[in-house]
Symmetry: C2
Subunit: 154 residues, 2 copies
């Protein structure tokens, strides 16, 4: 089976938040966590230590830049940065902003997302933000532009 994260061109362009030199930021499905992004490495690698040093450093700086943009745009109480890859072993970060009004704010998101697997109304709740997806993408892009985050074809 081809790696689903090696084929980002198949993604809807609307979901692409930012093209970094070493990674691509996608707006994730769970926008109850308003600003939730998935940051995908352009290089196919399974673990961070498989990347050449300078590529890894740049990739991690891009991750940090994106977390700052999410924080600036949506003022969460905390960012959760998770590199798992248990199902898709191609380096990608789940960047979840956690709100103070989330009743599960002290726990990892995966408990709620597991409920969403079995419960359609919970799924809908966790996919839905007070803002439309296009507005979330626009706010993130504005912050990234203000930060002058480098784009490959800027």
């Amino acid at each position: 089976m081809p790696c689903p994260l090696c084929n980002l061109d198949a993604r809807p362009a609307d979901d692409i938040v930012w093209q970094f030199p070493h990674s691509v930021a996608l707006l994730g499905p769970w926008q109850y966590y308003t600003g939730y992004c998935i940051l995908v490495s352009r290089t196919h690698a399974v673990e961070l230590f498989h990347l050449p040093d300078e590529v890894r450093t740049a990739f991690l700086e891009e991750m940090t830049t994106l977390t700052r943009a999410i924080a600036d745009a949506f003022s969460p109480r905390k960012l959760n940065c998770e590199l798992l890859g248990n199902q898709v072993p191609h380096l990608h970060w789940h960047l979840f902003p956690r709100g103070a009004d989330d009743p599960d704010t002290l726990k990892a998101v995966w408990l709620a997302l597991d409920r969403a697997d079995r419960d359609e109304s919970e799924k809908k709740r966790l996919q839905t933000s007070a803002l439309p997806r296009s507005e979330i993408v626009a706010r993130l892009r504005t912050k990234l532009k203000e930060m002058k985050a480098s784009e490959p074809e800027a």
Copy 2:
């Protein structure tokens, strides 16, 4: 309340795996994930982008070094690297090696750890490795020494 991760001297010395220049590696409680470490920043900061650039780069390199040592020592199918801080907002990484024989290997660990909160036998299972804790620490230190990971008082 004082920050519990600003007071690492109170930790049992046996649990300290490695002293890096910018972080301290502790052996975590859940050794069903054999080699599970918590890597604590020496600087008190809530988000990665609050660290000075050169400190953050070094902290993230130390995290990568530790994941490589865990992988070399215990050959997991995947590393999970998680910076959450929902309960303790002082930068620290949860580094979980995931085994192929874990029935929950496709999911984040937090579902199993949530069960352990309510179920004493599940808690015991997830705290227990086939190896004693002292042996796990010894194997990680051997790998880190081989990698010549820098220590502040090397």
